[in-house]
């Protein structure tokens, strides 16, 4: 078995090599993309100031501001070198749109909100969608299945923000069940239990809309996988063994049908930061999505770079975790020895 261990180590090293190169490529791409785009951050800031002041700024001031905000006068290679150096020290620079706040501070403030809202609702959507999907795939053609499956197709195709806006109007405004904006009761003291309960209350509607519009995709995927898996011999044998239906479904059919879903789940988990833009814009939620929107509006390079970096790393980490989890739940991946035909 030592050769197996070595093979596994080699496979692991290969995986790791991919993640390292991917991370580097992502970091570089994040550096390049904003710089390849027209426009510069100082321009946006100056413009805002001039609108606010109702008059133009003296040219030397504009020049000085441009310099202060890290204008594009440096050699791009030097910039890149500094950028990499700063990354290793955890310094993502200073946001130009919120000068002089550090990007890490901004992301640090916003990240927990996004993680909480998007993380919880993504997990919920996955669990609900996968669960119902497994039931639909297990008993295809039942009333539940014939209603839910086409419905999920529809739900998966409805623009998310459209549903969210409508939900906001109906449940928060017309019915008044939920607050209209924000991530918590702004009048509550952050150390009080009331504050934490308000966090729940404020997060409920955004979370429900996410679950509502994203569980359809999970449902369909799981339904078809379950349907395919129930055709497998080992499910037939499990039935032949006289095991109870629930046991056959969960231990045999769903357990195996879920494996491909996990990869998707990892990607979805990693994508939550990027996916949060729409949700957080609709619900004025104080997370990374709102921050990204703001960064784009302000042409805030450092902030954009920082968010992209975080997002990419989140996807990479989620994938790495998924790989690891996959190895745990699917023993076949553990000893992927090569075989000749």
């Amino acid at each position: 078995m030592s050769s197996g261990t070595r093979r596994r180590a080699i496979a692991f090293a290969r995986r790791l090599r991919f993640y390292v190169i991917a991370a580097w490529s992502a970091v570089t791409l994040n550096f390049l993309i904003p710089r390849l785009m027209p426009g510069d951050p100082a321009q946006a800031v100056v413009q805002q100031l001039e609108v606010k002041n109702g008059q133009n700024l003296p040219p030397q001031t504009v020049e000085a501001i441009r310099k202060l905000l890290g204008g594009v006068h440096e050699n791009i290679a030097v910039q890149y070198w500094h950028y990499l150096g700063n990354l290793f020290t955890g310094n993502l620079g200073i946001s130009t749109g919120n000068f002089p706040t550090r990007v890490t501070t901004l992301i640090g403030t916003a990240l927990p909100w996004t993680m909480l809202l998007m993380g919880v609702s993504t997990v919920l959507a996955f669990l609900i969608g996968t669960g119902i999907g497994a039931l639909c795939g297990w008993r295809p053609g039942t009333r539940t299945d014939s209603v839910l499956s086409p419905l999920s197709t529809f739900l998966a195709a409805v623009p998310y923000f459209w549903v969210a806006l409508f939900a906001l109007w109906l449940f928060a405004f017309r019915l008044g069940w939920f607050p209209l904006a924000g991530g918590h009761d702004p009048d509550a003291d952050p150390s009080s239990p009331r504050y934490w309960l308000s966090v729940l209350h404020y997060g409920l509607l955004p979370a429900l809309t996410i679950v509502f519009s994203s569980c359809g995709g999970w449902l369909l995927g799981m339904r078809n996988m379950t349907l395919t898996t129930t055709g497998e011999d080992f499910v037939l044998l499990a039935r032949a063994k006289g095991l109870s239906n629930t046991r056959v479904l969960f231990r045999y059919a769903a357990r195996n049908a879920m494996l491909p879903q996990l990869t998707g789940f990892a990607l979805a988990l990693g994508a939550i930061i990027a996916g949060s833009v729409l949700t957080e814009t609709v619900f004025t939620y104080p997370g990374v999505g709102s921050l990204l929107k703001q960064a784009i509006d302000n042409r805030d390079y450092p902030l954009m770079q920082g968010i992209l970096l975080f997002t990419t790393l989140a996807v990479l980490v989620a994938n790495f975790l998924a790989d690891s989890v996959y190895v745990l739940v699917d023993p076949r991946t553990r000893a992927q020895g090569g075989d000749a035909s």
């Binding site: 800031v45 109702g54 008059q55 020049e63 501001i65 002089p100 403030t109 405004f173 924000g182 009048d187």
Partner: protein
């Protein structure tokens, strides 16, 4: 609160009941009144549409998001009233006077002013505050133009200018006076100043990512006569703000609301208020004067006459009325405005056709044709603001209907739009124009001295207007503070503006006051406006406006 429950609170209770089964603790905690410490009825709630999610109150940051909150903390040396920007008023400087032909300005520091940390405002603080923009031009976010600051007495400061600067006071209304002691040891380029010290009445009482609370202190130099000491500034998008207003969670917001009359005021006319306030800003059509056919006065006039401004106003439907011929809002520039220019340009299709004919223009296939050359009409407008999308589309629609002109309308985002404007690479732009004083109004728009060629980024006269009379009048206006002379220059400039039509004013732009009288009354309205409020107000106006509020008795 002692009021009979309205429909909304009943609905909310219903919602609470039906949801109660799902999540009882959540609603038990959140269904109650807004705050345990400060009742909602004792708080003035004003929208902060400049979403601040970090505690950044550095007043010199080119991009700080202090929004309306900063107005209650930092104060300027002078108050430039928006309703009469030509008449600066003393504020932290209790007096000011010109000398050396407008090259020296002496400011007298007000006595007895204390910062909100209790320390007194000294001349040292004052000089330091005025000096920062000189030492570090990157922090000259107010745009001051003096070149030297000097304390000349126990409470006087002299600002020196290179050239007569009678028209440059505007920037002193934007400057924040800060505590030298608080700033000491901090690098303005890295410091957020989370607990700002200023001379204003406010102090940060609570800061969260969604809302900032300000508590007004006692001992403010301007007096204690505030209707309440509690202000809060919830952050929300404009869309959400409308819902918050309807829900009574916001008292005031400065946002445009298409069909605000029917959709907001008419829902509860006793309580709801939607008021477009004049601001001195216009929505106008700007021409590139380096390009044919826009350098032809006949074409500009024809365009102006073919626009049905009241129809455009109705289409926009958020309160912008047709602008007058001079483009000068009577509420702001009323003392200068010539009576014959108080009217708007009416729709005059026949006149427009006559003008085109007079210039030798024909319209063929939707395009302007003269001497066998065909000119297409390309109009750009700003995509970021929905009102401009509608205004420009409605205008294009009218030119098509009235003159048979095919307007190729393009919407651009702000940055692109402005960069085309600044470098003169546009045909016609539909844009907002705002400038402080009357001088600035004409100077920024039309000053031909040092005009930059097309392709260079210009900060003023982006339309490349070249007119010797205009330049002469502006030069003369710059160096005098004689009201009579200024009035005569202003009249001449108005004439040029109306007769030569370097731009076509279409509608007034407004500052909106959307308010409910549920808890407070005395909001600024277009009838009897005294001071602005909210996001668009300068610090003195915001403080004065707040003082004008009264508790609602209904």
């Amino acid at each position: 609160m002692g009021q009979p429950p309205d429909r909304r609170s009943i609905l909310r209770a219903g919602g609470a009941l039906s949801l109660g089964a799902l999540a009882p603790p959540v609603l038990a905690a959140c269904g109650g009144p807004a705050s345990a410490t400060v009742p909602r009825s004792d708080t003035v709630s004003v929208l902060n549409k400049d979403t601040a999610i970090v505690r950044n109150f550095n007043p010199y940051s080119p991009s700080n998001h202090t929004g309306p909150m900063g107005r209650y903390i930092y104060e300027p040396p002078l108050w430039i009233p928006r309703l009469d920007p030509a008449k600066p008023q003393p504020w932290l400087a209790s007096a000011f006077s010109w000398s050396r032909g407008g090259r020296e300005l002496t400011l007298t520091l007000r006595k007895g002013v204390r910062f909100n940390d209790g320390s007194p405002l000294t001349l040292d603080d004052f000089v330091h505050s005025l000096d920062i923009p000189l030492k570090k031009p990157e922090f000259n976010t107010a745009g001051v133009t003096y070149t030297d600051v000097r304390a000349t007495g126990p409470d006087t400061v002299v600002l020196t200018f290179d050239k007569p600067a009678y028209q440059d006071l505007y920037a002193l209304g934007q400057l924040s006076v800060v505590s030298k002691r608080q700033l000491a040891g901090h690098d303005l380029a890295t410091w957020n100043n989370p607990d700002p010290v200023g001379t204003g009445p406010g102090r940060i009482a609570a800061f969260t990512t969604n809302q900032v609370r300000i508590r007004l202190r006692r001992g403010y130099w301007g007096g204690d006569a505030f209707p309440t000491r509690n202000l809060k500034f919830p952050s929300a998008s404009e869309d959400t703000a409308k819902l918050l207003l309807l829900d009574g969670d916001l008292d005031f917001a400065s946002i445009a609301w298409p069909s605000g009359q029917t959709n907001f005021v008419d829902r509860d006319p006793a309580q709801n208020l939607y008021s477009p306030l004049p601001s001195g800003t216009i929505a106008m059509i700007a021409f590139n004067h380096t390009k044919a056919p826009w350098n032809d006065i006949h074409v500009r006039r024809a365009l102006s006459m073919a626009i049905d401004r009241s129809a455009v106003s109705r289409t926009v439907a958020s309160g912008q009325d047709p602008a007058n011929l001079a483009g000068l809002a009577p509420e702001v520039y009323g003392s200068w405005l010539l009576p014959e220019y108080r009217r708007s340009q009416p729709l005059d299709v026949a006149g427009a056709r006559r003008e085109l004919a007079a210039g030798g223009w024909q319209i063929k296939g939707g395009n302007l044709v003269k001497d066998g050359r065909t000119h297409t009409v390309s109009m750009t407008s700003i995509a970021d603001w929905p009102a401009y999308r509608i205004m420009s589309a409605a205008t294009a629609d009218q030119l098509r209907r009235h003159l048979g002109l095919n307007v190729n309308l393009q919407l651009q985002v702000g940055a692109t739009f402005d960069s085309h404007y600044n470098s003169g690479t546009f045909d016609i732009q539909y844009r907002l124009y705002s400038s402080g004083t009357l001088y600035q109004f004409y100077n920024t728009l039309l000053d031909g001295q040092g005009m930059l060629p097309v392709g260079k980024i210009a900060a003023s006269n982006q339309m490349r207007w070249k007119n010797a009379d205009t330049d002469r009048l502006l030069a003369a206006m710059r160096v005098t503070d004689d009201p009579k002379l200024i009035a005569s220059y202003a009249a001449s400039l108005q004439k040029i503006f109306v007769e030569q039509l370097p731009v076509v004013p279409v509608l007034w732009e407004c500052i909106w006051a959307v308010a409910t009288r549920r808890y407070w009354t005395g909001w600024p309205t277009n009838r009897g406006i005294r001071h602005y409020f909210g996001f668009d107000a300068a610090a003195p106006e915001a403080i004065l406006a707040l003082k004008g509020l009264r508790r609602s008795t209904t």
